[in-house]
Point group: C2
Chain length 161, copies 2
DNA sequence: GAGAGACTACTCGGATACAGTCTGTCCGAGTAAATCCGG
DNA sequence: CCGGATTTACTCGGACAGACTGTATCCGAGTAGTCTCTC
């Protein structure tokens, strides 16, 4: 049970898009070049973000992606689910229904006890991701990133808009 | 990112093995028949439990599996990791190292901020699973399961030992 | 009746196969800005 | 110099392919208990 690479890519790309000047778009080509990723495949991840409404795109020259909403309104969970889907990490197939000695017409109102525990764990994971916003990541990077490196990245990107 | 079916199977099988009379083994064949699962494939999950030391097996007639340790000492996480592996749900490939404008010989002591958030979420998930023990599941089933059903299951199993 | 050998029922592990997902590439359709060209 | 047509640069979406994983199935090797056979 491992998340796909695109999740990592999407998270990093969002942090870049969040730093864009007001109203500007950044092309997939440059996002891919910046992170050393295959452009065409990265584009799939960005399409996922776009369909989820986290990001918006425009066509033509000087087209590309930008955030559709404020970084304060985007959680890690939003990005993860946009790219990786929102299926529960545990898929209960209700194998208790196969038990041969079960009385006919037995009422099975409650959810399977095993599944309940797994669902709770899933919710703990999601809850943690829901409570971290993209803006929190930006704050952390602001502190952790060396100033000269941050500046170099900024000019690199501004040169491509 | 979905856990494999074998995890569900292993959890249910463990709850059955926990109810076995002292010192008795239950064959894979019956565990599979009881849950309506493919015997050969279920055996892979049980092998995983065996390698993790949660379960022990014996060969020959009246052979099979039984718990190797008390249900109080077995957590859900133990079972999940025995079957599904213990790799982190997020695989950081450190794409920040690919950034073209990074200064040469830049010290990158700290862990990637994106990865840190994902690792914390992973730990929240694992922590929840670690805090639920197999004995807790048995307690829940004791309360939730209709008495006649539980009895029917018990006799079904005792008849096969 | 006792002991040795054959038999049986099971686990374990490897080999194999198939399907689905992940990763990645390629290309055509559609679109918006920039450019060109005719009046 | 102005407005329409063309070109360009991009996104979007589908098609496709290879690698890997998940889901099985099958079978042979090894083992522990049981049965049988011989003395």
């Amino acid at each position: 049970m491992v998340l796909k690479n695109q999740v990592e890519w999407a998270l990093h790309c969002c942090s870049i898009l969040a730093g864009l000047p007001e109203g500007k778009y950044l092309a997939t080509k440059f996002l891919a070049e910046f992170h050393g990723l295959p452009k065409e495949y990265l584009s799939k991840a960005l399409q996922g973000l776009s369909q989820a409404g986290l990001v918006e795109s425009t066509l033509g020259p000087s087209g590309g992606y930008r955030l559709a909403i404020s970084p304060r309104e985007i959680s890690f969970l939003d990005i993860v689910e946009a790219v990786d889907g929102s299926r529960n990490t545990f898929a209960c197939t209700d194998i208790r229904n196969n038990i041969p000695c079960r009385p006919a017409r037995m009422k099975q109102s409650k959810i399977c006890a095993v599944a309940q525990v797994m669902y709770d764990a899933d919710e703990a994971w999601r809850s943690h991701l829901r409570n971290v916003r993209l803006s929190d990541l930006l704050d952390t990077l602001e502190v952790e990133l060396p100033k000269d490196f941050a500046k170099a990245c900024e000019t690199w990107i501004l040169n491509r808009i």
